[in-house]
């Protein structure tokens, strides 16, 4: 396509283009690497997934609760203790990230801008299926880096579907971009096995199934699960009792996204967990 010297193509029609390909055209985003890169120098056993964190999400009576601890690590070192891994993508969608922060935050940024770009150019909201697919595509484009052992990202995506049958929807992904819709809960990251155990137990044999919990009960289970994950996983911070650092908890519902204030989380923690 012939580019005009004034910064935009006079014969441009944006209808067929999505935002990531627009960024690639302008050299603002790396090329999509969909196949495995040549592995001459990199031996297979060097590849290890580094999703050092814990994020979880489950449906409760007030929508979907998404929670993430705040620790960022590099190997054995704690780099940052106030990282925010639960990111708002638009008014009704949250992407929570486990994985390499540089890639994950960039991916969230591309996704956020993609949805806005779509809404502005096409004059309508992107459908839930479209949003889920857009994230899947970003993960797939990143696959070459995953195979090289750098840049693996395993997100959770929670959104509210306002269309014909209004409901909250929850998805989790693998590093290659396959999406799975979760019926009740999802967890990813290095601390997730413990969390999955707790959520499975609570959902089946707890006092009530997860989807019947009220907000306070839901928050207390999220805090307990993250604290349990932190007990055995060094990459997960759980609740920092001395530094008074609490996990980030957000709720997606019909009204949009609510970020729980820290004092509210602290109150639930004091009463139900500590």
């Amino acid at each position: 396509m012939d580019r005009s010297q004034f910064g935009f193509d006079q014969n441009f029609s944006g209808a067929a283009d999505d935002f990531p390909s627009l960024l690639r055209r302008k050299g603002l985003l790396g090329p999509a690497v969909t196949g495995p890169m040549p592995q001459n120098q990199i031996q297979q056993q060097m590849w290890q997934p580094t999703e050092a964190t814990t994020i979880l999400a489950f449906k409760f009576s007030g929508g979907v609760l998404v929670a993430g601890d705040r620790r960022a690590t590099a190997g054995n070192t704690v780099v940052y203790d106030r990282a925010d891994k639960v990111l708002e993508i638009d008014k009704h969608s949250i992407m929570a990230i486990a994985g390499v922060p540089a890639t994950a935050w960039e991916m969230a940024r591309v996704l956020e801008h993609s949805l806005q770009y779509f809404r502005r150019t096409q004059l309508q909201e992107m459908s839930v299926d479209g949003k889920v697919r857009a994230l899947s595509k970003l993960l797939r484009d990143n696959f070459g880096f995953v195979m090289q052992g750098v840049g693996v990202v395993v997100p959770i995506f929670a959104t509210y579907n306002g269309n014909s049958k209004p409901e909250v929807r929850l998805y989790f992904y693998d590093a290659m971009g396959a999406q799975f819709e979760a019926t009740d809960y999802a967890a990813t990251g290095s601390g997730s096995p413990a969390v999955r155990g707790i959520l499975y137990y609570e959902n089946n044999w707890g006092r009530k199934p997860l989807h019947e919990l009220n907000e306070e009960e839901a928050v207390s289970i999220a805090l307990r699960a993250l604290d349990t994950a932190a007990e055995s996983d060094t990459a997960t911070a759980g609740v920092d009792r001395s530094g008074k650092i609490y996990p980030v908890i957000k709720i997606v519902s019909r009204e949009g996204i609510t970020t729980l204030p820290e004092n509210k989380i602290a109150a639930v923690f004091k009463e139900m967990v500590a």
Binding site: F6, G7, F8, F19, L22, V110, R120
Partner: protein, 259 residues
């Protein structure tokens, strides 16, 4: 023939006459800065004329739908890539219009073997205070009119777009007297509706030098409201959310209109 300079001038003049003729029936758009934001207002029956461009920028346009669409896409593309690669705060309407849109429109207009853009656009960018609001009108030939203060005239807290120059001038005369930047939303809606009615009335006449009398304006506006739908949008000044654009439904505004 364009090797001969005067032929080129003649061709440009013909082209200008043709485009002005094409744009002349375009329904006016009034854009008013008020205390809590910027209001875009027009009445129409068929096509959407108001669009969101970026977090703090919106656009209204008259002209050929295909050309409007290409320019709208280009503006969104430029703003979105800038906002992505730097930050939303770095997206500036002044740069978007002065350095990107205007030169392209000028060169399309002057290359007389290619098609010009049959479009006239009005952009607004909401600021933190009413004094920071920016309004820019871009013509088919790349000419830009801004609301900013120059030694020739005072700063304006509104901008208008219409099919003819005369309609634009009298809408501006009306708003200069009737509109203040600290007005309420309700007052802004009523002033915008009156300005629109004046602009719309003047599209039918050729040599009006003065504003129509208030009774005639009121009658025209009553007639038009009965048949046409209100299309309106605001850019909110409130900085609590990043995206300031909100389109307003017809029935949201009808109750605010005073008789």
């Amino acid at each position: 023939m364009i090797e001969e300079p005067y032929r080129w001038v003649e061709a440009i003049a013909n082209r200008r006459e043709y485009i002005e003729g094409q744009l002349a029936p375009g329904s006016p758009i009034a854009t008013l800065g008020y205390r809590k934001g910027i209001l875009f207002f027009t009445l129409g029956q068929t096509r959407q004329k108001l669009f969101e461009i970026y977090d703090r920028i919106a656009m209204g346009a008259i002209g050929h739908p295909g050309d409007i669409e290409r320019l709208r896409m280009a503006a969104i593309e430029l703003a979105s890539t800038e906002g992505f690669s730097r930050s939303a705060a770095d997206v500036s309407l002044r740069r978007l219009v002065h350095y990107s849109l205007s030169p392209v429109m000028k060169s399309a207009f002057e290359q007389i073997y290619g098609p010009p853009y049959l479009a006239r656009m009005l952009f607004a960018e909401v600021g933190a205070r009413p004094e920071d609001d920016l309004f820019l009108r871009v013509e088919y030939d790349g000419e830009i009119a801004s609301n900013g203060a120059t030694y020739a005239r005072a700063r304006q807290d509104f901008a208008v777009l219409s099919g003819t120059r005369q309609s634009v001038e009298l809408m501006e005369t009306f708003l200069k007297n009737k509109h203040t930047p600290d007005s309420s939303f309700e007052a802004a809606v009523n002033a915008a509706l009156d300005a629109w009615s004046i602009g719309h009335m003047l599209l039918q006449t050729t040599d009006a030098k003065q504003l129509p009398d208030p009774a005639a304006i009121a009658q025209h506006r009553q007639e038009q409201l009965a048949t046409a739908a209100i299309e309106a949008a605001v850019l909110e000044r409130d900085g609590s959310t990043a995206i300031r654009y909100r389109s307003l439904a017809d029935n949201e505004l009808r109750s605010l209109i005073s008789d």
